[in-house]
Amino acid sequence: MEDKLTMLLYNLLPAFLILMYGGLLAFWAILYHNPDELLERLATRIGWVTLGVYAIWLATLSIAQRQIPILTAGQISVFLGFLIWMDQLFLQRRAPQRILVVLPLITVVVLLLVGFAGGLRHAAAPEQLHSAWSAVHIILSMAGVAMLFGSGVYGTGSVLLKHELKSRRFGRLFSRLPSMDEMHRLRAFALYFGWSLITASFASSVVFLFSARSGSPSFFSHLHEMFALWVVASLLALSERLKWFGDQKQARLTVALSALIILLIAGSVAQIFFGGRS
């Protein structure tokens, strides 16, 4: 019985999810070439169903290991994929055209593949990751990163649309992307939301480190990285709020800094899992 559950949780369900997201990606790619409002609505509904399956899988995994799925780099990868997809569905409810869904879908498929290949079983997770504080900290930072990723997606959309408009190409992107105003609005919304989560995550990491006094040096180094990440996110949010740059420059900056933040987070996660062992 236990073998069957293990098989289901660590092999069958993730493989099924990869297939579902791959299928959804192909569906949206077809819709990009042949617009069909009816099928677009269907694809959005399938998107919600896949999110449901994803949530059920993660919940079952959490119950089985008595901890949310943050015990291995692979688990963090698939958990981040879940949050990115959830954010995307949440954000796309605010934009009438949904073709930008392709970017998060590719990311989710990649994160699922990385998670699957990287290993989902928690043989030797660091001791500190079993505490409740670590769960709060990691969930907040990953939700923040997912939101910043969403901001980056809409920033990319703005950059693409600007390119179409400036080059007077009037191609598919011109007609299928949401309007520039709408993308700026969504980008700013996701940025502020993401920044709030990153701030809360940073605060929780401080509490987490002081509560776990026996923390390893890699965890103190993680605090420095979190601080650097928070500074970058704060500067980005501040420049958006105070309009330091024009909308287009801000969009490009969001894309670049969101990518940097995601890289920092990835490095930080790697530090936790692999830093202490070297």
Binding site: P35, L161, F170, S175, M180, D181, G246
Partner: protein, 432 residues
């Protein structure tokens, strides 16, 4: 199938002939009543727009082509020789034609939206005048849903196909809603007035007018509910505006890079220049600035061409939908023509069932009677289902009418008149 249509459209007739064929909305009920007064016509509907004048009929017997053309000319007030240009479609071709029309595939501007509303209006008028028949009711409701389906499942109606709307489309790609945007109109001539009208239709309501003659600027600003500014506009105006529409007849650039550079360089939000003037009013170099989007008439023509190409491509997908919907309609028709025979069969079987149950009721206990009733109903239902299924199968070989006739005769009740009517209708179908 008993359907016929005749009409003139932009391909079959020139504007003069189309103008003569057009029927004013207030005259439509009268013409429809005259049409259904004809002994061979069971129902009629007229689709009269600026590009087409079409008559749809459900006749008892198909018209002879010459007679049909003469009838059309008579109803539409045309000379008999004008009818020669009219096209005629029968049965499934008439169905397909109306479906193509409602989908915008037969329009001068492919995918246009107005035609769907015009088909709806034509049907509503025929319905109000009580001139439709069952088949025309079904045809028009199906045509309307087909038109909607095509527009939902393809992008045939998307993208502007006129220069004016192309300018609005670009503005909406950039700003989404125009109701909060500020518009600077440079020039107060006809083109500016037209642009202001289209922008106002799209929601714009905050205006500033700049014109060489101040009195004209004031008169125009007063008309559209805006204010005036100097000519040419200053940096302050560019800082204020979100959209600048230029349409003067000046021989050289009114807005140069040097004159607007400091204002646009400092901008942190987009500024859209719609240069509708020929020769151009705005220096092309201004378009190189980060937040400036500059478009000329040529750009809009290119957008229109791109949209038309996209619509042509979508038309192929739309034709497939029309084809499928045509088949669905034909299937409905096949089932509908045997419906009276099936109904007669059901009535006959039910009469037999109730009388038999009643006759045998004294053999059963009161509690068993309910069971017997249930059993007899179920038995009759099974028999009917089997016959209906076989009739549907027979319709694929075109033998359903023979079977329907046989059933109508075999299960004829006391009401001979009803049976005769069914047989007459089936005979019409068979003769066709």
């Amino acid at each position: 199938m008993k359907l016929e249509m005749i009409g003139l459209n932009h391909r079959a007739a020139n504007l003069t002939l189309r103008e003569r064929a057009a029927i004013a909305p207030e005259s439509l009920p009268g013409v429809l009543k005259r049409a259904v007064a004809h002994p061979n016509i069971e129902g009629a509907a007229i689709l009269s727009t600026c590009n087409r004048a079409e008559l749809y009929l459900s006749p008892t017997f198909h018209f002879d082509q010459t007679e049909f053309r003469l009838l059309y000319c008579d109803l539409f007030g045309l000379d008999p020789q004008d009818g020669e240009s009219a096209y005629i479609h029968r049965d499934s071709m008439a169905v397909k034609h109306l479906f193509r029309v409602s989908s915008g595939l037969d329009s001068q501007m492919i995918g246009e939206i107005q035609i769907l509303a015009q088909v709806k209006s034509a049907y509503a008028t025929a319905l109000e005048t009580a001139c439709t028949s069952a088949i025309l009711n079904r045809l028009f409701t199906h045509a309307i849903s087909c038109g909607k389906l095509v527009r939902t499942r393809t992008a045939i109606s998307q993208g502007a196909v006129s220069v004016a709307y192309a300018a609005i489309e670009v503005a909406q790609r950039l700003f989404n809603k125009l109701d909060t945007k500020k518009i600077l109109l440079v020039g107060a001539g006809e083109t500016s007035a037209l642009a202001a009208k289209y922008l106002a239709d799209a929601g714009a309501c905050t205006w500033r007018v700049s014109n060489r003659t101040q009195s004209r600027a004031e008169a125009f600003a007063c008309k559209i509910g805006g204010s005036t500014t100097t000519f040419p506009p200053t940096n302050d105006d560019f800082d204020w505006a979100d959209i600048v529409v230029c349409a003067t007849s000046a021989p050289t650039h009114i807005i140069t890079r040097a004159s607007a550079d400091s204002a646009v360089r400092a901008r942190k939000r987009p500024l859209l220049f719609l240069d509708l003037a020929v020769p151009r009013d705005v220096d092309g170099a201004l378009g190189e600035c980060e937040e400036v989007y500059l478009y000329t008439v040529d750009d809009f023509q290119e957008l229109v061409a791109a949209n038309l190409r996209a619509r042509q491509k979508e038309a192929l997908r739309a034709e497939e939908i029309v084809e499928r919907e045509g088949e669905t309609f034909a299937e409905w028709y096949r089932q509908n023509r045997i419906a009276p025979s099936i109904q007669q069969l059901q009535i006959a079987l039910e009469t037999i069932r109730t009388s038999e149950v009643e006759q045998q009721s004294h053999h059963f206990h009161e509690t068993d009677r309910v069971e017997v009733d249930k059993f007899s109903r179920s038995l009759m239902k099974r028999v009917t289902s089997l016959i209906v299924a076989n009739m549907r199968r027979a319709s694929e070989d075109g033998k359903d009418l023979d079977l329907a006739r046989a059933i109508a005769l075999a299960f004829a009740g006391k009401d001979q008149e009803t049976t005769d009517k069914i047989l007459e209708k089936l005979s019409h179908e068979l003769s066709h």
